[in-house]
Amino acid sequence: MQRAYSRTRILLALGVILVLIMADHLNSPTFAFNSGQGNVQTALMQRDESACAPCGAPCPSTRD
């Protein structure tokens, strides 16, 4: 049975995604922290207990 996809395109798409992830990571505070730079805030434990929604939105009652 003939394949329904092109192997090259699949590898290309995944390669692009990986490059984007790496580019993002190499410019991040976490990478800087891992490289020995101190005094950076990383997002590893990101839960915001004061927020009113999973996306970090504030409570309607706190809005002016």
Binding site: A4, P29, T30, Q46, C52, P54, P60
Partner: protein
Amino acid sequence: MAEAAAIRAGASHPGWQIDRFVVTTALAGFALVGGLVWLETAPFMVALFAIGTVLGMALYHGAFGFTAGWRNLVVKKRGAGMRAQLLLFGLSSLIMVPMLHSQTGLIGAVAPVGTSLVVGSFLFGIGMQLGGGCGSGTLFTVGAGNIRMVVTLVFFIVGTVIGSMHLPWWLDQPGFDPVPLVNTLGVSGAIIAQLVGLGLVAWWVNRIERRAHGSIERNELLWKSQSHGVLRTLVSGRWPFTWAILILAAGNALTLAISGAPWSITFAFNVWGAKALEAVGVNMSQFEFWTWDYPAIALKDSVLTHIPSVMNFGLLLGAMLAAGLANKFNEASRNRPEARQFMAAVVGGLLLGYGARLGFGCNIGALFSGIASASLHAWIWFACAFAGSLIGIRLRPFFRLPN
């Protein structure tokens, strides 16, 4: 005679074929991304990545689509998919509500109730039927190589970013703070109230099916595959709904235990879209949403430290692996979609994204995790998204989408 019987048996149980290229690529991707997460973040993130992978496999092998389940009830008057979802919510509620209130440091999926929630979930419901999937459905079908769903995902991301720019305005419209049912009913009371609510929805679903067909197909209660043995079904699908329900419920509970918050999907799309805009020079901090603590830090730091993003990467690879094991990767794209179907993906994706941001999540983050956290907003989300879905189903023929 024996030969003829063997041929007949072969026809009814065709050889077990896997797509080695797709399976190998998915496993290589899993090792690569998992290795990066391990090296650069923390072991618990690797665990969450692995959970995302298993969830992606469960969604694909279980064909656990919220969108199709709702449409089957409305169009074909069949309720197995819908009842499977209700069973999932009930089981998760039993597990996660006590967890949330017996351990400190765990935060449930609660959200404000108001105009933003109602409008957002309604738009999301329309988008589900036009886009062809919800948050999880879009991701696992993309992972399985569906080209039209890639378009839906891209515009889903665009929609979430637009939604994030508008959310502060929507939050200023009438509404009130989150209503955790546990605060008024206690843990047991909240669980009982939710089980009664789910039971009532199940009764309504059964009534529709019985009226249309005279009886009810209990496919959601099957434990064994009717076509293959247990091992083959486990590896290459299709799983009975019960397997998917157990894995999805366990996956969400583990996510809560490990990360401190239930499973969510669409906030990652927000972050990806905002990062893309920042990469082309847009200053996202001009928008109020991106000045709030959690979005601001998620935008600034690596996606490898962002829990929903890492779990989504796992989900995509898990669905790819499952599709390869089932030898069905890209199967849905064999027939090239028509232009109008692509247009439906664009419109649907935008509505999904905008709706998810205003409605505080998708079927996973707002509905599944919301009910598992006993939050009132999840029930309102459910009702409004279903109402929107009714409109979306009516719009599908215009976009030449089969119902």
